[in-house]
Symmetry: C2
Subunit: 446 residues, 2 copies
C-alpha cells in the first residue's frame, strides 16, 4: 500500500457511505465543489494550487489486491466487488493553478456518480488544502521581495515527507526561485539551492579550514555559513580565503547569515566583503523568516540578496489550516444546499467571472450559476478532466509559475503588500441567490 | 522514487557537504543529537514520538539505480560510487516513544561516520519533529478528556498524505481512541471510527430516509449526523426511526453534532433522546475542537460521550512547529559546541536522568554527560540500534500507547490540565557545564 496513492488514504465514512449508496441504488450524478469559507486573518487573497496532484490521483485511482483483502474483512462482498472495478470516470472543472481566488469561490468541481465523487473527497481536500495553503503563504514573500532569490528551506519542519515535497512545489509555483529539497528537483524539476550546515563548520578544528574544504569541493558555487562563532570575524576569514583561492580559479559565491540581528550583520558583512574586494560575493539570510521579516529587512535597506524561508512557510505557521470544504451542490439533477449554522453553502454548479479595470487590474468577481447565468469578465473555471481522462497536456511547472507571476501584476495594488488590504469585491449573482432561497423554502422543516 | 523512503528527500547541502567530507577524508565518527529548544507557549511538556519511523528509514536506506542516475549528472563519480554502497551502519540511542520530555533534552542520538550521520539529518528531523509535535498536542486532549472517546478526524486538513497518516499514529500513541483515517488502520492497526457526512444527508430528498438508509446498511453501529438542517428536529426523527427499526434488530449507536453551540445542542438532544427511550444512544461532537474547547464543554457538563478532533490537532494549529534541531555534539572523539547567537548547544553525548517523588510523580530531571557523570534516577535514553540493526523487536503501537498513558499518571499534577503549569525542573549537570566552558575557552576567536 503506497500511502501517497492508496485509496485507503481516506476517512472511514467514505466507505460506510459508499456501502449505503450501493445498497440503496443511489448512483446518480453528484456535483461537489471545493472552496474556502474565509480568508485567514491578515491575508488578502489565496492562490489555487494542487490541481495537478488531484488529477494524478484521480487518473490512477484503483484498489490493489492487498487493499481489497484488507477491506474484505470489514465490508460485504458486494462492496468489495464494486471496489475491485473502481476507476474514477467523472468530470473535473477547476481554476488553473496559480490563480488568485477568494472565499466562497469554488476552485474545483467534481461531477461523477455519487459513490465515486464521495470516495475521493478526503484525498482531494488533503491535496488542494495543503498546496493552496502553502502557495497562498509563499505568494506573500514573493510580493514583498520580488527581486530577491527566495529559496524554500522548510523540509525538516514540514509536516512529513509529502508536505516537504509539495511545499517545495507550491512555493515554486507561487514564484519562489527554488528549494533545498532534492526530491522536489528530481520529481518536479524545481531548481535546487543549498549552502552548508553548522555541523560542517563544527566538524573542522577551525572555521577557515571548513570554508576552504567546502570551496575546494564546490569551486564555483560555495555559499559559506558564517555565523557559527562570530559572524564579522568569519567574514574577515572569507576575505582572506577568497584572495588565496582566486589564483586557483576558485570563487566563493556567497555567505549565509542564520542568527542574530540579520540587518546589522548584513551591513557589517557587506562592508567587510566590499572592503576586501568581494563586491560580487552575495549575502544570503535565513532563520525564522517570513514575509513580515522580509518586509522589515528590505525596508531597513539591509544588503541581503537572497533568503531561505523555511518553517513559517512550509507550515503556514500564522494560519496552518484553511477553513475549506468539498460540498455536495447537486444530486440527480437537483441543486442541494447545506444549512448548518455558520456553514451554509451556495447550491448548484458555479462559475466565477472576473473583471479587470482599464489598467488591467482585477476589479471584482461574480460567483454565478454555470448555466443560464452568464456575466461579463473572464470565466475562471475550466474543464480539466472528462470521463476520468485529462483534457489538457501537463503544463510544465516553470510555465505555471510564470503565469502565476503574471497574475500578481493584475492584483489590485493594495493587495500586493504584507499588510491587510480592503476586501476584494466578490458578488453572488442574483440567480444564485434566488436558487438558494427556493431550496430553503422547499427544505424548511425537512 | 518513493517519496516516503527516498534518500533524495533531503536538503541539497547534505549532498554537497558529503562530497566535501569525502574529498577531505573526513569520515570519523560523529555524534548528533535531536532536541527541542523551547516549549511552545502554553505547553507544559512534550511527548517523544516518531522513533519507529526513523528506525525504519535508517534500516532501509539505500539509493535506487534511478536515484543514482539522477544524482550522477550533478555529483562527481566518486560521490556516486560512495552512494551506491550507502547503508546506515551507525548506532542510535533514544527515549522510548511516548516519554514526556522537556527542552534541552536529547530524545535521539545518532553515532555514525559523519557522511552518514549528516546525510540522514533532514528526514530524521522531518519525522521526529512532526510526530512529536502531534503526540504532544494530542496528549493535551487526552489529559483533558480522559474518559471520553477521542477520534482523530484530521486527515483532510493535515499537511499531505504522510501527515494525515502519522498524525493518526502519533495521536493514538498519545492516548486517542483511534482515527477515521483508514490507511492508519491498515498500516498501523490504529482502531477506526467513522460517522457520516452532510453530503449523505443532502443526497437524499429527506433526512429521515437518509438516516434509515445508513442505519439499514450499518445495523449495529450507525452514528447519524443530525445538524444538516435543524439539530433538535433531527434528534426527534432519530427517536421515531429508532422505534421503527428496533423490531428489525437495527440499533442506532449514536448521533453526531458538528455545528452551532455544541453544549446547548448536546443538552437538548440528550433530553430528546432520553425522553424517547434512547438512553443508550451516544452523542458525539466535532467541529473545530481542541483541548481548550474540550475542557470548556466538559466543564460545562455538556452530555457528550465522544469527540472528533481534527484540524487543530493534525496541524497543531496553535503551535504548528517546534523549535528543534539535530546538532553535532562530538566529532572524532572531541565534543563540539555551536555558539550562534540564541542558538548555543550543550556539547557531548548526553543522558537524561529522571527522579520521582514518593507518590511516584516526576520531580525533576538532570541532563548529564553519558560517560562518567552518573546521577540518581531513571536513565531515559537507551540503545535502540547498533551498527544499523535494531536492538529490540518492534513494540506494538497499542502497547506503546498503554505505556504513554501510564506515563501521564506520573506527570506532576499541575501539568495534566490544559492550562500552563510552573516550569518542570531540568538541571544541567556540573560536568556538562564545565565541558561547555572548556570548549568555549578553546574556540574563542576561532
Amino acid at each position: 500500500m503506497n500511502p501517497l496513492s492508496s485509496p485507503l488514504l481516506s476517512d472511514l465514512y467514505q466507505f460506510t457511505m459508499l456501502q449505503s449508496y450501493l445498497e440503496h441504488e443511489m448512483e446518480e450524478t453528484a456535483v461537489f465543489e471545493f472552496f474556502v469559507r474565509k480568508l485567514p486573518p491578515g491575508r488578502n487573497f489565496l492562490v489555487a494550487a494542487g490541481l495537478e496532484q488531484v488529477l494524478d490521483f484521480l487518473e490512477n485511482l484503483q484498489f490493489s489486491p492487498e487493499e481489497l483483502t484488507w477491506l474484505s474483512s470489514r465490508f460485504p462482498p458486494h462492496v468489495i466487488a464494486y471496489l475491485e472495478q473502481f476507476r474514477f470516470s467523472g468530470d473535473v472543472h477547476a481554476m488553473p493553478e496559480g490563480t488568485p481566488f477568494f472565499p466562497g469561490q469554488p476552485i474545483l468541481r467534481v461531477t461523477a456518480p455519487i459513490p465515486q465523487a464521495q470516495l475521493v473527497e478526503s484525498r482531494i481536500i488533503n491535496l488542494l488544502h495543503f498546496e493552496t495553503l502553502i502557495a497562498s503563504k509563499a505568494a506573500r514573500s514573493v510580493l514583498v521581495a520580488p527581486d530577491k532569490l527566495l529559496v524554500d528551506f522548510g523540509l525538516r519542519r514540514a509536516h512529513g515527507a509529502e508536505a516537504g515535497l509539495l511545499a517545495a512545489r507550491a512555493s515554486y509555483l507561487a514564484g519562489f526561485s527554488g528549494t533545498s529539497t532534492v526530491l522536489a528537483g528530481a520529481l518536479y524539476d524545481v531548481p535546487l539551492f543549498g549552502t552548508m550546515a553548522h555541523s560542517f563548520i563544527q566538524a573542522h578544528t577551525d572555521e577557515t579550514t571548513a570554508f576552504e574544504h567546502f570551496a575546494r569541493s564546490h569551486p564555483a558555487n560555495a555559499i559559506l555559513l558564517i555565523d557559527t562563532y562570530d559572524t564579522e570575524a568569519a567574514a574577515g576569514k572569507v576575505v582572506s580565503l577568497a584572495k588565496e583561492l582566486q589564483h586557483e580559479g576558485i570563487h566563493i559565491k556567497g555567505v549565509r547569515l542564520d542568527s542574530g540581528d540579520l540587518a546589522a550583520h548584513a551591513r557589517n558583512v557587506r562592508r567587510i566583503l566590499d572592503e576586501g574586494g568581494l563586491q560580487q560575493v552575495t549575502i544570503f539570510a535565513s532563520g525564522n523568516l517570513d514575509e513580515y521579516r522580509l518586509h522589515d529587512l528590505l525596508s531597513s535597506g539591509a544588503p541581503i540578496d537572497g533568503f531561505g524561508v523555511g518553517t513559517a512557510m512550509d507550515t503556514s505557521s500564522d494560519a496552518p489550516a484553511l477553513d475549506c470544504a468539498y460540498k455536495l451542490q447537486e444530486y440527480a439533477g437537483q441543486p442541494r444546499r447545506k444549512r448548518s449554522e455558520g456553514k451554509a453553502t451556495w447550491p448548484g454548479r458555479k462559475q466565477v467571472y472576473r473583471s479587470y479595470d482599464a489598467a488591467g487590474r482585477m476589479s471584482g468577481d461574480v460567483v454565478a450559476l454555470e448555466d443560464g447565468d452568464a456575466h461579463d469578465g473572464e470565466a475562471l473555471i475550466q474543464p480539466v478532466m472528462r470521463n476520468g481522462i485529462r483534457v489538457n497536456a501537463l503544463v510544465p511547472l516553470a510555465e505555471l509559475r510564470e503565469q502565476t507571476l503574471a497574475g500578481y501584476a493584475r492584483l489590485p495594488e493594495a493587495m500586493t503588500g504584507a499588510a491587510a488590504a480592503p476586501a476584494y469585491p466578490v458578488n453572488i449573482s442574483e440567480a444564485l441567490q434566488e436558487l438558494a432561497k427556493t431550496i430553503d423554502s422547499k427544505t424548511n422543516g425537512n
